[in-house]
Symmetry: C2
Subunit: 471 residues, 2 copies
């Protein structure tokens, strides 16, 4: 289906149907993405203030067959927010629909508009003594609508689930312009197909989320954090099992860190304090959030002792203060910045079944070594089987030296992930960068079903063309 | 689209493509449903042994345009498993695909075939010291495939979620006969639309689930149960908040019981021991499952004291032994049987936003009273906002006396639920009984999207015709 560029007639029509000031120029902020690999085409920018205005926009675009690019905080890492080729699009930024509409503390529910910044949603929950547990590096600028559209993950998935599990209901505008009023606050509602779950993770290809009813949690009574040196990734998994047997859902985060990441910190961010004189090969950052009556420091000490006795842990630091806790987290949270400063040859956001992680790390290392001289920084959300497996130039060399090998590195990692039953996009989504990858690795029956659903809900193909599915 | 009855040619074709003994007669066991309101038409019965055989069956049915009725444990309460009108169908029972294929204790994952009995899945998890938390009255005969197809709920949703939240991946056969190999054990996989979530809760109208990768949980270190007499439903909700602030996810169940239920037990099942000499108007059954280091009896005693001090609780019993625990649960679990023996005029499986429950109960009582002389037994999963709101004849009268009023009672309850932002089917699904209700109360944009998805994935309309959506 051919699409048309926005033109003067299209814009004039929208201007007639919308209040002044909704339309504007799509300046560079809306056309770039964080890794600088895509540049969007300048079409026209709309910044609607209500679902009704989004409806006017989509209805017009659908009739005129103009492509629509939904735009949240712009923090996506897979190019889902910028359309680099094809007709000039209508970019719809949700930034003005940024209200937290209401919090229901007794229900553990919060209703926010799609453009609300994730950190603001967290703060609104906090102010009612509740927790909105979605937490990720870009939370200061990412918008909740984008988080939902990409089914965002982050550090607390182990305990609280992905964005999809944190959403009870949606208000959304479908490609036809019809508004679905689905802001349910219900925990149970079995009255038909899971349209909510379908729009979440569809990356703006099936409609635009305009508001969401989100699930809150009680704030754990006490929090504790430790960094444990572990003898291997398998030992880290054994400690996770130990911890779950003892503390059940009390484990909020369980992050793997490799020596390479600590060395990158030393190299690029020497001001980040490191607790160990010699960076250990593997460590895990464990965060507990426990119920009243339990002492997290004691629980971590017990866990550490059991892990030492079993030979899984070799050393460890338990935070004794909030400042120490922040310091331990800073290690984990600064690794992506260190990575950026080093400059990766190829970065991968992958997951494999939990018990396959040690073998994946082993085999991955062997295969990458066979390709040449690289450094691998493998770290991330071990508790979810989600690793950021990033491949870097050898010391003293640069990203540019490896241009010719980038494709082979990526292919090698993805092939191995696929062989081991994993996912080549654990939490970042497909966007435009991975469309060909899912065409290669995805189940063909599922892909055909996705195409059929896309065709059914967006027959003119206006929504975020080129993202997720081949055009 | 017109469908055709199974005929001799169709059966002969299947016999040629399948091993002997797969096809047979659909005897009465496959044509009845627990409430005896529908009787299915005798078509032909298939009991496949593999996804490949299910594929052969669906491919043939799709070509011949023969309706297909998927059949699990037959315990559904909304007629989803029996097709009472239209052409004689192909009934596909999953009973022979009942293996628990494998348990991965370290991953907290279990892979089971669709025909596995829920209790067997629970036992397989238990034997590896893990918990599969889905728990409901019919677990001894319900099959996991049916549980998933109906997105089953039960008593532990508050803590662990509905069936959809307990499933990581599916193997399923689409109406075309194509097999989707989606038995992912991944916690994070953002590679496209949530086909898993769409098939779950679709009640067999979009395909047949043949196997599932299920999420297990650690078994809580210690469990405690109490029955608290509360001053009102609002007080019960206040106690829930208190409990969540103290114990976080440690609350496994929070069930509301009304005096009427206890009186029905006295009337019909006098052997069930009741802890209070005079049945209190409202009580809640609280179950805790806590981490190591916490004593559930102590935690319940503390909670009870705080609730007494605040005036929310009036009396209470904390189970001191497993036998006492069973006794308290028997009260809750025997109420449905007592209801059955009394014989309801109309039963409703509804949910409303949590904070609206007290008002719903109040207004419901007033509206039902305006219709005539009834007894109301309102009980259920308070922690999820899910009430079984059942209306019974006055004492000494029978269900038959109220035939003429049944429709008005149902309509009154559903109208009120709808006014209050609730769901007319919280956990049982739509089946055939509630198709007109969701057409009346459902969001029209969502219903249109559901129809479009159905048309896209099942263009010939062979899958469970008449369930969920109007034919």
């Amino acid at each position: 289906m051919d699409l048309n560029s926005v033109d003067a007639d299209f814009i004039a029509g929208l201007e007639a149907d919308l209040p002044a000031g909704i339309l504007g120029e799509a300046d560079h902020r809306y056309l770039e993405e964080p890794r600088g690999r895509y540049r969007g085409q300048a079409g026209v920018l709309a910044r609607p203030q209500s679902a009704e205005q989004v409806s006017v926009l989509l209805r017009a675009a659908n009739i005129a067959r103009v492509p629509v690019v939904p735009y949240g905080g712009g923090t996506g890492l897979v190019g889902g927010q910028v359309m680099g080729t094809g007709p000039a699009p209508l970019v719809i930024s949700m930034e003005r629909m940024n209200a937290v509409r209401v919090v229901y503390p007794q229900e553990n529910v919060l209703v926010a508009e799609a453009g609300a910044i994730l950190a603001d949603v967290q703060a609104a929950a906090q102010s009612e003594e509740r927790l909105f547990p979605l937490s990720l590096a870009s939370e200061g600028s990412a918008q909740i609508g984008g988080n939902l559209s990409t089914n965002a993950g982050g550090v607390n998935v182990l305990r609280y689930g992905n964005a999809r599990e944190l959403c009870l209901g949606l208000e959304a505008v479908l490609p036809s312009g019809d508004i679905w009023h689905g802001l349910s606050r219900l925990r149970k509602d079995n009255t038909g197909y899971d349209l909510r779950g379908l729009l979440i993770g569809a990356e703006g290809t099936l409609g635009i989320i305009t508001a969401a009813a989100l699930k809150l949690s009680p704030i754990p009574a006490a929090t504790g954090t430790a960094l444990l040196v572990v003898s291997s990734p398998a030992a880290a998994l054994a400690i996770l099992s130990l911890a779950q047997d003892r503390l059940g859902e009390g484990i909020s985060a369980f992050e793997l860190i490799h020596r390479q990441g600590l060395q990158f910190l030393t190299e690029t961010l020497p001001q980040v304090r490191q607790p160990f004189a010699t960076p250990p090969e593997w460590c895990v950052l464990v965060e507990l959030g426990l119920a009243r009556g339990l002492d997290p420091e004691l629980a971590l000490a017990d866990l550490f002792e059991a892990a030492m006795t079993a030979g899984h842990a070799l050393d460890g630091v338990i935070a004794q203060s909030e400042a120490q806790r922040q310091e331990l987290w800073a290690l984990r949270e600064q690794i992506p910045e260190a990575n950026r400063l080093i400059g990766s040859v190829s970065s991968h956001d992958i997951s494999v079944p939990l018990s396959a992680i040690p073998e994946f790390i082993l085999r991955g290392g062997v295969r990458i070594e066979a390709l040449g001289d690289f450094r691998i920084n493998c770290f991330g959300h071990l508790g979810d089987g989600n690793l950021h497996y990033n491949v870097f130039p050898a010391f003293g060399r640069s990203r540019a030296d490896y241009e010719a090998q980038r494709g082979a590195v990526k292919r090698t990692v993805h092939d191995l992930v696929h062989e081991m039953g994993g996912s080549i996009s654990a939490e970042h989504g497909v966007g435009r960068i991975k469309v060909e990858d899912i065409a290669r690795y995805g189940d063909p029956v599922r892909l055909a079903a996705m195409q059929a659903i896309k065709q059914a809900l967006d027959p003119n193909g206006i929504m975020n063309p080129g993202a997720v599915l081949r055009v």
